[in-house]
Amino acid sequence: MNVQFKKGVLDLCVLAMLKDSDRYGYELASTLSETIMISDGTVYPLLRKLASDGLVASYLQESQSGPPRKYYSLTAMGKIRLQELLDDWNAFTASVNKIVGGKSA
């Protein structure tokens, strides 16, 4: 998949993954790297940026197996941003589909 494509939707993916439950960095990184083929390392700068924008918050939590984990959760602002991004995404894919899908639209 195109690099620019991935960068554009990475925010959306991370916010969407945090919508239902808090997740830790490693989990986000490995899930995203498997599904959209990005390197694990790109997720951490993104999380940091989202945190500095106030869209996500983080806390440390001990784990039964292994080291303590830094969990990320969606803030109220993050939820609003997620909705905006989702709306944009849906509108965008719908209009692109109209063009590339041609006959189906």
């Binding site: 951490y44 940091r48 940026k49």
Partner: protein
Amino acid sequence: MNKKEYISALRAQLRRLPSDDVEDIVKEFENHFDIGISEGKNESDIAAKLGSPEEVAQIYLSDSVPAFDVNGASNVCATQMPIIPVKTGMVIDRGVGPQTAAGFAPVGYAKAPVNAEPSNTAPKSEPADAPNAHTGAKEKEEYTATGPQTGKTYATPNYQQYPSQDPNVSRPIPSEHNVLFAVLFTIFVFVPVWIVALAIILLLIGLTIGLGALSVMLFCWLPSLTVAVGGTVCLALSLAFGAIATAFVTFFAIKGFVVGTIAYIRFIAKGCKAEPKGGNV
């Protein structure tokens, strides 16, 4: 590349960032390695999946562009050249006028091709000095009425949004020194401590000299036994204070005053920045 190598390479790449941020980032990556290791993965696989430290650091560095406001500008370290975001359509060169700014205009505003013959009524029916008169297209009616120069005005860049971009405002070069902190530190910490320490030393020296002088006077006078005893006591006290003062002065004057003052001056001169903890490789 194992965990240690990866972390130190990442740390080296991030050295332009404030040390607190670097520690934070490094901790997150160490944690990533630790979790991976606890799941039975090996360090070099984890490192390979992370992407190169250079690549990762580059994302952090490009995200850390300082906020674009004048107040924030003073916090920017002079060694960190800010990357200046350019607003689309912004005229960067001051000498560039609105005519050349047409280059930024969307395709729809581009000048019509010469041989694209429009419906022949439109341009010719216009009075000679009307809309496109100032474009120099007066004689040859080469341009259609939709050309860039007709009625399309270009707003000057909105410097209110990006005040630090305004070329018409002269600003002092952002100083690295945190002046307010320096002043407060000087008034509330350095000066009071200095005065108190000096007062104690002067008091001790004063007592030494005063009591010594008194004892000498009493010995010279020597009218009675009581006075002689008083003189002896004064001399003893004088010597005691003298000893304390000497010890105090030797220890604290040299260490506290000289070293302290030098440290203070260096601290102020460096712009009130504490030495970063630990080196960067």
